[in-house]
């Protein structure tokens, strides 16, 4: 899939995803070793975007399984199309039971869900299992079979093994500790807040209209906010939002009034806003 780590960075950059060396290295290894990639990090640093970018680069189909509390086998793996099976039974009145039985448990009546879709496909596939921490523990057990052997067992049909291993990305916000067994099977990548230089490049790429001096100030202020121990530190998504806001407001430079008025774009809790305002001396002036 990729020839080197630099190749990964360069090709991801073409799709508009600027990867840090850690991200590029881990993606390269995941492709090379054929292991799933478990991505953790705060909200808004581009975990899901990474999977999308990899799919685009590899020219692969993106199959997405969005996890939520209560997601189960029939939502994740496969389901029999009961309505259609009933129709088939009532349509073939004169048949013997044996004929009907073998017929209604065939491919035609199977509704593949994301995991099965990703494994059965012949074309290159990126399987994104989003917000794995939201799913229940039982779901993790199901993922273990899929992720270690890339196979799924359907009792009526037999075991389906992947002809072509999908590139698997799992994301998690660490809302719940994922089990050790699942972590073992994956390469682990923690995406934190980017370095200043990388963040400047991201802002430049996403909000090209913003002046160079202003871009730099924005990134510096956000960096200072992150060092402040807030309830929710601003993420890359917030930085970009803020840059867009400043552009829309036509702000030429960053000064007290502008920062005070727009602090709500980057900080989402009232305590945080107060704390940041106090630390940045906004009300003193």
């Amino acid at each position: 899939m990729f020839t080197s780590v630099d190749d990964v960075s360069a090709r991801l950059a073409e799709t508009g995803y600027l990867a840090s060396p850690a991200v590029a290295t881990t993606v390269f290894l995941a492709a090379r070793l054929g292991k799933p990639l478990l991505v953790e990090g705060p909200a808004g640093v581009g975990k899901t975007e990474l999977a999308k970018a990899v799919a685009q680069v590899a020219g692969a189909r993106l199959v997405r399984l969005q996890c939520y509390e209560g997601v189960d086998e029939s939502r994740a793996l496969y389901e029999w199309n009961h309505a259609k099976q009933l129709l088939r039974i009532s349509a073939g009145r004169d048949e013997s039971w044996d004929e009907t039985r073998t017929d209604i448990f065939s491919e035609e009546f199977l509704l593949p869900r994301p995991l099965l879709t990703a494994i059965r496909g012949d074309e290159p596939t990126v399987l994104l299992i989003d917000e794995t921490d939201k799913a229940d523990v039982e779901m993790e057990g199901l993922l273990l079979e899929v992720l270690s052997d890339f196979q799924v067992t359907v009792p009526e049909l037999g075991t389906v093994t992947a002809t072509r291993r999908p590139f698997v990305v799992l994301t998690s916000n660490a809302g719940r500790e994922l089990s050790e067994a699942l972590r073992r099977r994956c390469l682990f990548l923690h995406i934190g807040f980017p370095e200043e230089e990388l963040e400047r490049r991201i802002v430049r790429l996403k909000v090209p209209g913003l002046g160079e001096a202003l871009t730099e100030s924005v990134v510096r202020v956000v960096g200072a906010l992150r060092a402040m121990d807030l309830r929710k530190a601003p993420s890359v998504a917030e930085t970009v939002d803020w840059a867009r806001t400043l552009l829309a407001l036509g702000a030429g430079t960053l000064d007290e009034t502008v920062v005070r008025d727009t602090l709500g774009v980057i900080l989402k809790h009232q305590d945080d806003i107060q704390k940041a305002a106090a630390k940045l001396d906004l009300d003193a002036l």
Binding site: V5, A174, R184, L187, F188, A213, E216, G223, A227, T253
Partner: protein, 460 residues
Amino acid sequence: MTAVADRIAGLAAALRAHGVRIGTGETVDAARAAEALGLADRELLREGLAATLLHGPGQRALFDAVFDLYFPRGVGGPQDAPRDREALRDRLADALAADDRALMARLAAEAVDGLGGYGSSPGSDGFSAYQTLERLRPQTLLARVRADVRGRGGGGSGSGSGSGSGDGFADRLLDDEIRRRIEEFRRMVGAEARRRVAERRGRDEIARRGVRPTADRVDFLYANRDQLAELRRAVQPLARKLATRLAARRRRAARGTIDLRRTLRSSLSTGGVPMRPVLRRRRPVRPELVLLCDVSGSVSGFSNFTMLLVQALHDQFSKVRVFAFVNRLDEVTGLLGHGRADPDGLGARIRAEATLTGWHGSSDYGMALGEFAERYGGAVGPRTTVFVLGDARTNMSDPNLPAVRELARRARRVYWLNPEPRDRWGTGDSAAPAYAELVEMHECRTARQLSGLIAALLPV
């Protein structure tokens, strides 16, 4: 590849010694990663090994320190190191102003080589990060670097040319930024000193003893300020994890036994055949919690952390009341409330706003427990679980065992969490064994132990 394989195996063993769980599978993966990435770029190798060996973000700082020992930047000291302190400070100021990480790393190597060496006979000599930093004093460069950066006109990279007043606002952040750079330099000096010592004393030895353990395995009693701050940041995620564990326990506890009367009653509709057993349902009672915390000197780090953790878990209980004491006792529940929960200033706020000391400043368990029984006896009822946090060192005064006995009688459960190692209980002025006879006492030295105890002991 065998030399590299040995290194990787050594690295994995050192990490295991620090409590990171690494199986053979991961080690094999790490070796395959090293093969795929090559050894040319050290940073790529670092990321690759981290991705294959680690399973969580908490272990990364530990990994980086150990990696620096097993895959060092170089061998020996720099060749052309000048031994002149002032020249080194000048160059460091330039590097800090330009935020040039590579140069800072090189200067750290030179500084350790030139200023950090001690001892002369082989076997007793070595390199000390503390001595290096003490002689170099990078923190005193702040004013100079600030003037330097301002002189260049603008931000860290110097690209904001002609911005003039435009950078006025962001300039306010400059001091903090420079402080962070200096902190980074101190870290580099530490890593370099460890590397040089490891060359003399053997890598495995230093990897086991010289590297700071992850924050959740640091003894509360010996944690420094940074480690305590790191622990405070870990409170929220830890509370979330504990909340899920408690919820799971609650779910399991809700599966009751068969309610015979209601089973028979419902079987009437099926002709007396009990088709559907009815389970006895437990009445959902949210338990009450009372915390008694010794906040004197040495134990305060432990108490503060536990208070924050319990406060973060407050929605699991119908009522949480927190009392702090040194030799007098006062309620501090209000100081922990939401909105006011500035974790950094908690200790100072408690000391400022609550009456905790009488005529002297050392802790007196007997007095404080007696005062609790007297003034707040009503806070403890049959639904209350009480946690006492402290080292049970009474400074030779009366431990007031009757008060504890009375407490144990009235509360549902009483647990005592002691941050001292078990083998020191009862030494000196410790009344731990006497208290342990009356209430259940647990050793609780690290955040890891604490979270295990909380998950197991908290009532559901």
